[in-house]
Amino acid sequence: MGSQLGLAGSRGAVAGGDNVAVLRGVHYAVDHKPVFRGLDVEIRRGEVTAIMGPSGTGKTTLLRLITGQIHADAGTVEVDGQDVGRLGRRELYALRRRMGMLFQNGALLTDIDVFENVAFPLREHARLPERLVRSLVLTKLHAVGLRGAARLMPQQLSGGMARRVALARAIVMDPDILIYDEPFAGLDPISMGVVMRLIRSLNDALGISSIVVSHDVREIALLADQSYILSEGQVVASGSPRELQDHPSPIVRQFMEGLADGPVPFHYPAPDYYGQLLAPGEAAR
C-alpha cells in the first residue's frame, strides 16, 4: 500500500541520529490536573515523526511545548539544542522563524486573500522586492497545487484547500521543522491523500523534519518514520509503524485496532447499573 502511493519512508540522507527536538522528563499540569507525567520524546532530524494517542492526551499541548507557547513545569524541552523554556522573547521568535506550523483549521487570516496570507511571513520578517515576494509565494502555492487560487479569499476555500494554503504559508520561509496539528481531520479521502503526499514529499525534498499529530492510524502508518503513542501523560509505545503493528501492550492494541473498549473504557464512571435502575423513584444522579 505504501509503495502504491509512492510514499516509501526514506531514512533520508540528513538523518543520522541527530535530534532536532528532545523532550526529557517533562511534567505539565493544567489547573492541578496533570497532563504529562515524565514525558520523553525524541524527534529525529530529517524524519517524519508522528504523535498519536486517544483524545485528550495532550498531543496539542506537546506541540505548544515545542513551540514555546507554554512552559513545562519540570523537565526540559530542547529544540535544536536550545532550551525552549529559557529563551527570551527575541530568541524565541528567532527560533520560531525556523519552524512552520499547520493548524487544524488552517488558521488563515480572514481579512486578506490567499496570496497575501502566504506572503504574510515574508512581509513581516523580510524586506524583499515585490517581484521576489511574488515569485516565492507563487512557487509555494504551486507546490501545494493552488497557484490558481491566489486571489481567492479564505472564506471561498474548501477545508482541504484552506489547509493546503496554510501549508504553503508554513513553508514560505523555508523552515527546518514543520509541525502538523491534526492535518487529516475532517478531510475526504482525496484531500487526505493529497495532504499525505505533500507532507512526505516536502519532508524529503526540503530536507526538513516533520512532526505530525494525528489519530488517523492508517494514514500515519503509511507516512511516518517514527511514531509515539501517548496515554495518561506518558509515552506508552514508540517505534516504526511496523513495530507498533506488532506491539503487545493492550492500550496500543486498542488504539491501533480501534477497539471500543479496553484500557480506555467505554463507560464513563457511573454507579452500579442495576442498582440505579431498580432504586425506588430516584432521580438519575
Partner: protein, 255 residues
C-alpha cells in the same frame, strides 16, 4: 451567606480584571512608539473605528441637537431667556453631552467591532498562528486597533458637537425665530477656549478607555462562539460604565 460569598467573589474577579487591564494598557503604551512606525496599519484602523462610525455619529448628533433646541427653548422660555439657547446648548454639548454620547455610540459601534474582530481571531487560532510565525499579535493586531480608536474618538466628538450645534440652530433659528447673529454671538461671549479643551480632553480620555476595553475583551475572549459574544456584550457594558465614571472624575478635576 451565599450572597455575601458571591459578592466577594465578584469583587475579586473585578479587581483581577482591572489589574489585568491595567497591565495590558501598560504594554500597549510601551509599544505605541513602535506602532506608529507602521502608519498603514493604524490608518486602516482609523477607517475601521472612525470613518465607519461617522454615519451614526452625525445622524445622532443632528437629532440630539434638534431635541436640545426643542427642549432648551421650552425650558428657557419659562424663565424668559430664549436668546441664551445657543450658549446653553453649546456649553452642555461641548462639556458633557458631546463627549459622553459620542463615547457611548462609539462603544456600541466601534467597540463591539474591535472586540469581535479580535475575539474571532482568537477563536480561530489566527492569533496563535501569528505568534508561531514569530509575529507579535499584540503589535500587529491589537495595537493598531487601539491607536485607531484613540485617534478617532476626539475627532468624532468634535464632529458630533459641530453637527449638534447646527441641529440646535436649525430648531432655534429656523423654527423658533431666534436671530441667527444673536444666537452665535451670545454663544461666543460665554463659551471659553477652556470649555472646548475640556470637551476634547474628555473625548480623548473616553477614547482611550473605550478602545482599551474593546481590545482587551477581544484579546482575552474565550476561544468559542459564546466567548466572543460574551466579550462583545461586556465591552459595551464596561465601556458605558467606565465612560460615566471617568466623566465625573475628569469634570471634578477640571472644575
Amino acid at each position: 451567606m451565599k450572597l455575601l460569598r458571591e459578592l466577594l467573589q465578584g469583587m475579586a474577579d473585578f479587581l483581577g480584571r482591572a489589574g489585568a487591564m491595567t497591565r495590558f494598557f501598560g504594554r500597549l503604551l510601551w509599544m505605541t512608539p513602535a506602532g506608529l512606525l507602521r502608519p498603514r496599519l493604524v490608518a486602516d484602523q482609523v477607517y475601521n473605528a472612525g470613518a465607519l462610525s461617522l454615519a451614526i455619529i452625525m445622524i445622532s448628533g443632528l437629532f440630539v441637537g434638534m431635541v436640545m433646541g426643542l427642549q432648551g427653548h421650552d425650558l428657557l422660555a419659562r424663565i424668559g431667556s430664549e436668546e441664551s439657547l445657543g450658549t446653553g446648548a453649546a456649553l452642555t454639548l461641548l462639556k458633557e453631552l458631546g463627549p459622553v454620547v459620542t463615547a457611548l455610540l462609539f462603544a456600541g459601534r466601534a467597540g463591539t467591532a474591535l472586540a469581535s474582530e479580535i475575539g474571532l481571531m482568537r477563536a480561530t487560532d489566527q492569533l496563535s498562528a501569528m505568534d508561531i510565525m514569530a509575529v507579535d499579535p499584540m503589535k500587529r493586531v491589537v495595537l493598531p486597533r487601539f491607536l485607531g480608536g484613540v485617534i478617532s474618538m476626539p475627532l468624532l466628538t468634535a464632529i458630533f458637537v459641530m453637527v449638534s450645534l447646527f441641529g440646535v440652530q436649525l430648531i432655534g433659528v429656523q423654527y423658533f425665530g431666534i436671530d441667527r447673529g444673536q444666537f452665535w454671538s451670545e454663544m461666543r461671549s460665554y463659551v471659553e477656549l477652556s470649555d472646548v479643551r475640556e470637551g476634547l480632553l474628555k473625548g480623548l480620555v473616553f477614547g482611550i478607555a473605550c478602545s482599551l476595553i474593546a481590545v482587551f475583551e477581544g484579546y482575552n475572549a474565550e476561544p468559542t462562539a459564546e466567548g466572543v459574544g460574551r466579550a462583545t456584550t461586556r465591552t459595551v457594558v464596561v465601556s458605558a460604565v467606565a465612560t460615566l465614571v471617568l466623566d465625573y472624575i475628569v469634570t471634578a478635576i477640571l472644575l
